[in-house]
Symmetry: C3
Subunit: 342 residues, 3 copies
């Protein structure tokens, strides 16, 4: 996390921020308000951390105008400190970028096509008719299956599998263990057992999407499973076949979407939330953590299900009563003094 320092004045100029304090101070990394040292940059975006500002030892702090007077040292004033911090912090992400070219241990099908500016890591397999575009990076241990496309500047970090007919746009980032384009879960029942329904569609991932570690996105049964641009999926998310997710929608870890559901743009899906199949969710819907969506949603807003956490002894009494709730409600309803103004 350390490297050649940037003068804070140079950072102010480059990111268009007002500077309060010493422009010559050198910054060689980032830290938290509580933990940063005198050569590190911190930020204050969440009001909850404001109490830490006066005592910070950070070399400089990105913060709002309103907080600038409370900063003990150099400050970069921003209308959106978290966003500007994110942009500046990228300067300190000194990952070793692999050289272009194909590692000798990788195996390429004769019909695969790899741009000479792309990088293919150790122990990768690039299958029939697969395409890896300019500047793309396929990390160690990936499989890029038949008819898949890794778009320009996209990166498969390591051990990612694109099974078949998966097309990534540009600048897509896929984390380790993700599986895109596995068979959707399609089964036709009969008295003799299950008959597999062939999954003949593919997966299309828009530009600038990010797919978390061990997340799975199945390919469509007939048409494609689609993520529009700038969709952000955390780890261990499951996306069923034929799902369509609108641009800029973000989902937290362990969320799951069943087959053929369509989700709008700018939605936020909380951790481990579930959405059953064949629904339509409109734009700008927020689903809170571990909620289950069982019907389509046509109004933007925030939605929840579940019950609050309680000490188990209390919870158990209430849970038993949940099982009697209809009976209890009918008792209330029958009562002669029942109020009628609800």
């Amino acid at each position: 996390m350390s490297g050649p320092p940037f003068a804070i004045g140079e950072l102010a100029r480059r990111f268009g921020l007002a500077l309060r304090g010493d422009p010559a101070r050198g910054i060689d990394g980032v830290g938290t308000l509580a933990g940063a040292g005198p050569s590190q940059l911190a930020f204050l975006a969440n009001r909850a951390y404001r109490a830490q500002l006066p005592a910070t030892r950070a070399g400089a702090v990105v913060l709002r105008e309103a907080d600038a007077d409370a900063a003990p040292g150099t400050a970069l004033v921003s209308a959106d400190p978290y966003l500007d911090f994110a942009r500046i912090a990228a300067l300190f992400d000194r990952r070793a970028h692999p050289a272009a070219g194909v590692h000798p241990s990788a195996v390429l099908d004769a019909s695969a096509s790899v741009d000479p500016t792309a990088s293919i890591g150790p122990h990768c397999w690039i299958g029939p008719r697969a395409v890896v575009e300019a500047g793309a990076e396929v990390g160690p241990g990936c499989q890029v299956g038949e008819d898949c496309v890794v778009g320009a500047q996209s990166r498969l970090v390591a051990r990612v599998t694109l099974v078949a007919r998966v097309r990534l746009g540009r600048r897509v980032l896929v984390h380790p263990g993700a599986v895109l384009g596995a068979d959707g879960f399609g089964l036709a029942p009969s008295a003799a057992g299950w008959t597999k329904v062939p999954q003949l569609g593919g997966v299309r991932i828009g530009d600038d999407c990010e797919i978390g570690a061990n997340t799975t996105i199945d390919r469509g049964a007939i048409e494609d499973t689609v993520l529009e641009e700038d969709v952000r999926l955390d780890n261990q998310i499951q996306i069923g076949h034929n799902v369509r997710i609108g641009a800029h929608t973000a989902m937290a870890g362990c969320a799951a979407v069943a087959g053929s559901t369509r989700i709008g743009r700018w939605c936020l899906v909380g951790g481990a939330a579930g959405i059953v199949g064949h629904l339509e969710i409109c734009d700008r819907v927020t689903i809170t953590a571990m909620s289950l969506v069982t019907h389509s949603i046509r109004e933007p807003g925030e939605y929840s299900s579940g019950t609050p956490l309680q000490p188990r002894r209390q919870w158990r009494k209430n849970a038993v009563r949940f099982g009697q709730l209809d009976m209890l409600a009918r008792r209330i309803g029958r009562h002669p003094q029942e109020p009628s103004d609800e």
Copy 2:
């Protein structure tokens, strides 16, 4: 998804279906009712899509007798259109089957045994005493650990790990990222911390099972974890050690079954449903999505837990009341006018 066409009359004959329309029409792929073109086959099984039938441009449609008159063009009449469509669609699944033999980059233990008609892909490892039977296909990046058996005609799509003592039956299909035979979660507590309980059993998977992407099935502590034949598991499912799952049971994505539970035949477990350990679930039980099963089930039927999704403001008020439910119920119960006929 396109290839040499089949005459629709030939398809009718091969699958034993009545034909209405032109037997010479060529079909070279499949499509949805709404999206199929004149050389594609569509189907109508779910009543919800019936409105799309009159306007379909599909070359032919598989449908029920009752719907045949509404078809604008050629129709294949079936008692079970979804099942017959699944069978016909398999003709258009033109996956490149790898040639038999072991890829030069694969590593085989000296004591492993691979049938000459099996295929072992790039970067696979086949461990001590492992067996790969006739016609089996081990895709790129798989590990087949000690004492594992990949049964005849089974397929590990890519990057599947069988850890130890995992025996797959015939025609088993395992999707990428699945891990079968990892240690069960067995720990003995003491004041000094946890002591690991060795996991000395294995995993047995019956014929015709399908295991989804990133699904995990632990091996037993002493005896085996068992899936009987034709069990179908979607993606990201977790099966604990010593679990037994009956034939033809199917589970949707992200379901989880804790250790030593036994599930019957022909059960359906919804997405992200949970079943705690040491239970018995009888045959033909359906658990709906995200329900939690905490006691054994002895009657076939459908079971649920949880609360309905609501706009968060409403939900919050109701959730607070859930926490008071026992108190509220006792108020009702004490009431002098309490009805006694419930």
Copy 3:
């Protein structure tokens, strides 16, 4: 599960247990009370299985003093039969340990450092500045990324990915498919879309931790994600960035912890339970399966959320009433005969 037998008298001596019966009896494996044969060792710890004791055919049984008289044959008397069984059973875990050294198909960065007593399996990649310490075992298909450390005697079973800046302590066991050190899910929103927040921290895993198959632990945004010593994580668990988990805490499969939450020591988190971000959970808290924790917990004890499983028809009626609960409660509250002593 069978090998050269141990005399039961030798086992009694080695583990400090009192023997009742024939010290010369040979034991060559383990079994359940119901399934063990005359050369196998069984155990009785859970009262629920006591009825199986009189009929067991096991060569010997590890059990409590109080149960010893009911044993039909040889008994090893223990104050903690499960713990002592775990220790003895380890003798029968005859896994083939790979020889020290680097497999010729593995790829090591020139700046990586591997102890000569460590083992690196087929198709592994050891990245820039990565370190594999003495006696560590890196199984087939693993990636150990830049600046990662695999501590002494630790084992990556197979196909594990350490992405960047992941430091494992000693004797850490990581199961296949686990991904440690992937980017945390940090995004700054703006009208134009999401901006990725660089994840510049790492992951630190204490001594004697165990990480389950397909579990994911993200690296910190600025500081590290931390597991203290002897933390035990089952399969498919998701740990967000900047989380800290105290020593001896254990989590069952599919649990998830969102970013920046701190969990105490000796906690137990049930299967598929969720803990939202930025909370503090004190020591010795138990969260039951599929509960959602949305506020900090300051008192040790057991906590739950959710509703009980019911036949769907009953459940549906009650669930509808949940949606009316605040209204129903207000009716009760307004009632003139409302009791005042609650």
